[in-house]
């Protein structure tokens, strides 16, 4: 076994990490949890993803220079964890459907907001994230672009495509 030599960079004490993470959680924990729930539709998964996001952000906390960058990195981490989970889950989920699991049918009298919520779950994670940032967090296009780490034009495209897809789904449901 090869030993690691003494480190030259600054290490972090347990209390420093706990304090820094606690402060960030106080500022952004609710927003991160809501984002994870909006992207997964499962509150338990949202809690797990939020915790994992804070673990990863914690590893970078002493290198990120501004609160805004911390927030953007946290939001982006949540989005990508949700995307990774969606990718790991999709093959298993559709395979189970193929093997005969019953998918619950939507009741015909479902309320408008429940229909919208279900339609949201059929969007890509990035489309849902863009809509969440613009229509729940009320971010500007520039703020949303910074949060997702993409261009303003990409945000416009994600929002427009997401709204179009929602409209198609909901109008199609109304026609049934």
């Amino acid at each position: 076994m090869t030993r690691i030599g003494p480190t030259r960079s600054r290490d972090v004490s347990h209390s420093e990490m706990a304090d820094k993470l606690g402060a960030l959680y106080a500022r952004q924990g609710a927003a991160a949890t809501r984002l994870a729930y909006a992207l997964t539709g499962d509150i338990h998964v949202a809690h797990d993803i939020t915790q994992e996001a804070f673990v990863r952000v914690g590893r970078r906390l002493f290198g990120l220079s501004e609160v805004e960058h911390e927030n953007a990195y946290l939001h982006r981490t949540v989005v990508n964890l949700c995307r990774g989970r969606a990718r790991r889950m999709k093959t298993e989920r559709t395979a189970l459907q193929k093997m005969g699991s019953v998918r619950a049918a939507r009741p015909p009298d479902i309320a408008e907001q429940d229909a919208m919520w279900q339609a949201l779950q059929r969007l890509s994670v990035r489309q849902r994230a863009a809509l969440y940032l613009r229509y729940y967090q009320d971010m500007s296009e520039a703020q949303a672009a910074e949060t997702l780490g993409c261009s303003v034009s990409a945000i416009k495209s994600l929002v427009n495509r997401g709204l179009t897809r929602l409209r198609i789904q909901l109008e199609g449901a109304n026609d049934e």
Binding site: M17, V57, L163
Partner: protein, 365 residues
């Protein structure tokens, strides 16, 4: 719907304003964050990959604050590798559970291969075509496992187990398997002896900016491992030396995964996701090919918004590519195309999950 934006705002408020938000983070979050940061600090100080135990490799930070990963390039010219003859295609089929089948390349002579109890999800032929490594998912609770067996399913030996494992990839000499595994919150690339034992991690998830590792694939000359992993922007394809050093990023779109080597090691076929404006699914995916250094990316399939083409595998003689042609990323048909994407032929209509193409054993009649 006239006021879709208004309904959207009200829907978000109704569903998100009153969800349960824990008052604080559990203590293990800080412990794990600090532990991960300490590993990164140590790795940065070393400036190179270092074996820290029999099982863990610490690699340099790969995030924005660290050195930029080289994109493509720098790959030495591989030695000439002779093509092999195309043998049977093994594939997993969902329907009555998930069963393993094999058939001739023209779709004839389909046979069921017995496998250990569970769903036989992902097959991988050995380089000599005489054995199979199969990833099996349990029917109920329990680890996912990798087994090595003879081509007829006999003499199955379990060689790996974890909360989740990928398909296995054989070293060209048939002695070692590479695979990705996750347990709890971490994923890593492992090597293990094909006979079982000597399981070790060569690339762990301590690297900053890594979210998950999904696959591992030996190069035909045995010197490199190709893999895909989550990044800050999505999923991308990477390659590294077989000892875990010299990691290079080959794609940077955030939408690329399931890479597979050509038999001569000069090209890589992979899946690329594309967002779509209309259609029943939010994304579609198609098969693309690139040079082994990440250059010259070109599309192989273009089947429109309703399809998710996935999991491409090269034929052993290099003249064709097989892939799963599905919808919504699930099981689909097994399609074979020429290496230029022409002349698609559907060999299995639906229900296919994983594919592996056998190099015909040299002593077979």
């Amino acid at each position: 719907m006239n006021d879709i934006e208004g309904v959207l705002r009200r829907t978000f408020r109704a569903h998100l304003d009153s969800i349960d938000i824990p008052r604080s983070l559990p203590p293990h979050v800080g412990v794990r964050a600090r532990r991960g940061k300490a590993m990164m600090v140590a790795a940065a100080a070393l400036g190179a990959a270092t074996i820290v135990s029999a099982a863990v490799v610490v690699i340099p930070s790969l995030g924005r604050s660290g050195p930029e990963l080289p994109i493509g390039g720098g790959r030495p010219t591989p030695p000439t590798i002779a093509p092999k003859e195309n043998g049977r295609i093994a594939y997993s089929l969902s329907g009555n559970g998930v069963e393993l089948h094999s058939m001739e390349p023209d779709g004839s002579d389909d046979e069921l291969i017995p496998t250990p109890p569970g769903s036989a999800w992902i097959p991988a032929w050995s380089p000599d075509g005489k054995r199979l490594a199969v990833t099996v998912f349990p029917l109920n609770e329990g680890d996912r496992t990798i087994w090595v067996m003879n081509a007829d399913g006999s003499d199955a030996q379990r060689v790996a187990a974890a909360e989740n494992v990928s398909g296995a990839s054989w070293s060209p000499d048939g002695t070692t398997l590479a695979y990705a595994a996750s347990s709890g919150d971490s994923t890593a690339i492992h090597l293990v002896d094909a006979a079982g034992g000597n399981d070790r991690i060569i690339h762990g998830e301590a690297a900053e900016g890594t979210f998950a590792i999904f696959s591992a694939s030996y190069s035909p000359d045995g010197t490199e491992i190709l893999f895909d992993r989550g990044t800050d922007s999505g999923f991308d394809i990477f390659v590294m030396n077989v000892d875990g050093t010299n990691t290079r990023q080959l794609t940077s779109t955030g939408t690329d995964y399931d890479p597979s080597w050509s038999p001569d090691g000069t090209q890589i076929v992979f899946t690329r996701e594309e967002s779509v404006e209309d259609g029943p699914t939010a994304v579609s995916s198609d098969i693309f090919v690139m040079d082994a250094d990440g250059d010259n990316v070109r599309r192989l399939t273009d089947d429109g918004v309703e399809t998710t083409n996935l999991d491409p595998e090269w034929a052993p003689d290099g003249t064709a590519i097989a892939y799963v042609a599905g919808v919504t990323g699930g099981p689909g048909g097994l399609v074979v195309v020429n290496e230029d994407g022409s002349d698609p032929t559907t060999l299995v209509e639906d229900g296919v999950l994983g594919i592996s193409w056998q190099p015909r054993p040299v002593d077979e009649d």
